[in-house]
């Protein structure tokens, strides 16, 4: 399993629009399970409602992990996605 920690700097946190894109992106890696953890709660990145239900806000730290399949490609794609869409500091 590969993972990285990051701080979300987007004003709105992980909100509807980019959360939708993230779920879509995560589904592109069918073999790999991509998860997002905030505090003691972990959800799959492909679960849109649960992902939004985490309530990630500006300044929150989250851990993103990838397990199974092409983990390396998945984690790289996630890093790029979080940087571009949530102004994440990794």
């Amino acid at each position: 399993m590969l993972e990285f920690k990051c701080v979300i700097n987007d004003e709105l946190g992980i909100h509807a629009r980019p959360a939708g894109q993230l779920a879509k992106e995560a589904k592109n890696f069918g073999e790999t399970t991509i998860s997002v953890t905030k505090g003691d709660k972990t959800v799959k990145a492909s679960q849109l409602m649960k992902l939004m239900g985490l309530g990630v806000k500006k300044g929150d730290e989250v851990t993103v992990s990838a397990e199974g399949g092409d983990e390396a490609a998945a984690i790289d794609a996630m890093k790029a996605f979080f940087k571009n869409n949530f102004a994440a500091e990794i």
Binding site: R17, G20, A23, L48, M49, M52, G53, G55
Partner: protein, 551 residues
Amino acid sequence: MVLIQGKGISKGVVRGPLYFFQRPNYDIAKVKVADVAAEKARVVEAREKSSNQLYELADKCREEAGEESAILFETHAMFCDDDDYVEAIETMLNDESCNAEYAVKEAGEQFAAMFAAMDDAYMRARSADVKDVTQRILNNLMGIAEGGIDSEEPVILCSDDLAPSETLQLDKSKILGFALTAGSSNGHTAILARTMGIPAACSLGADLKETLQGRMAYLDGETGKVVLDPDNLTIQTFKDKMEKQKKFKELMDAMKGQEDVTLDGRHINVYCNIGNPDDVAAVKNNDGQGIGLFRSEFLYLAETDYPSEEKQFQAYKKVAAAMEGKRVIIRTLDIGADKQVEYFHLKKEENPAMGVRAIRICLNNREVFRTQLRALYRASAYGKVAIMFPMITSVWEVKECKRACADVMAELDKEGVPYNKETEIGIMIETPSSIFVAPELAEEVDFFSVGTNDLTQYTLACDRQASDLGRFFDAHHPAVLRALKMAADAAHEKGIWIGICGELGADLSLLPTFLAIGIDELSVSPSSVLPLRAEIRKSIAKTCTLDALKC
């Protein structure tokens, strides 16, 4: 021949099929079913249909409105297929052996509640997204068409009356006219019909019944008639009227690009009343010279929680920019009375027209007021925005409003956000008390705009929503016209201008009176601009008299 007689509320004759508005049923009962698998299949089908509709909407949006809103629809589409949402629905079906509608409704409420309980305002607002998607799936399950109209060709839309939130969602390209069994000429549907320039009749009563669905009919919005199976003579009458209508339209088209000036050189500003940024298209089509009343309620009526500053800013900016430097007068929220919004949690009032409404809500609820003012001032950097406060009765209210404006300006200064420091501030003159203290009010503001509907209601003690007051509700009453003159005199004494943004402004029979009183601006439905211009250009202001003010 079948003749149904009502009251005309928006002029014009059309012929088309009658279509009864489909109102979604929000009371979904739990029903035990034997075949759970069949219900599951229905859910799958409704979800697929919903997500296809949403992807189509996203594509349409991408072409017409841009990427931002397109992605929102795509997110909604993904909600339909969300694993947890689907699982919640299926669990409900398995455990309860219930109907698909109930399972979808319950799952939707469960997720909406989850978002509503979050401690972040943005996330709480997402509960509306879940509700939206759930309603779409429910509509598809129950075979209710989007926008209430499931027809390829345009129709005459029939209903008892339509709520403001319902009119917002209508597919307006599908509507030839409105035929209402109830309603009134001052109701929201009437105002919408006049804005769109489409014929409408109300008070048609129980004779207009759903068994007539799909039948071809003529609707005459002037005489308030709906006619089925007309005889030859009637057909000829309607055809003549339609021909005249066409000629009139050609005549009006010739008025585009002309100045709003009387024969003796008096200029009048002819502006438009709008209720939605989309109405700007109608303003431009009819060559309106500005917007004299932009009702901000649409932002509040369409939401399930207070609209954010950003959302409001975008809407105001869109209109201000689209009007390209022409004046855009935006009225702060006028909720209460006949316009109720759940999340404001307003107390039920015996007499809401005289209750906590409009500016009273704003002055009691400073955060709501501040959010709107911030959005308005930010939008002032993108066009000629003016701010107007409704339901003013006292000078202290105006002073408090101005203080709130000054506070917002100071905030924006500090944040370095651009806005126009010279943004005009005006008030609605729509209460008798505002007439009596008009001289003092005029010292505080840049303009007056008279709301004749409310001014008539309060001056004559006649409820504007009541449909049986008939001759007692008389907007031409000398008391109303004298009130107008008193306000105009007070305004001119202090060197500010005065306009009319109520329905009366479009009443051509009163134009000579308005010219004699010295009204500077008339704000009317976009469809009334050109007829008004034609009339102004025929008038001689100097010879107009105040005869209508006599009893």
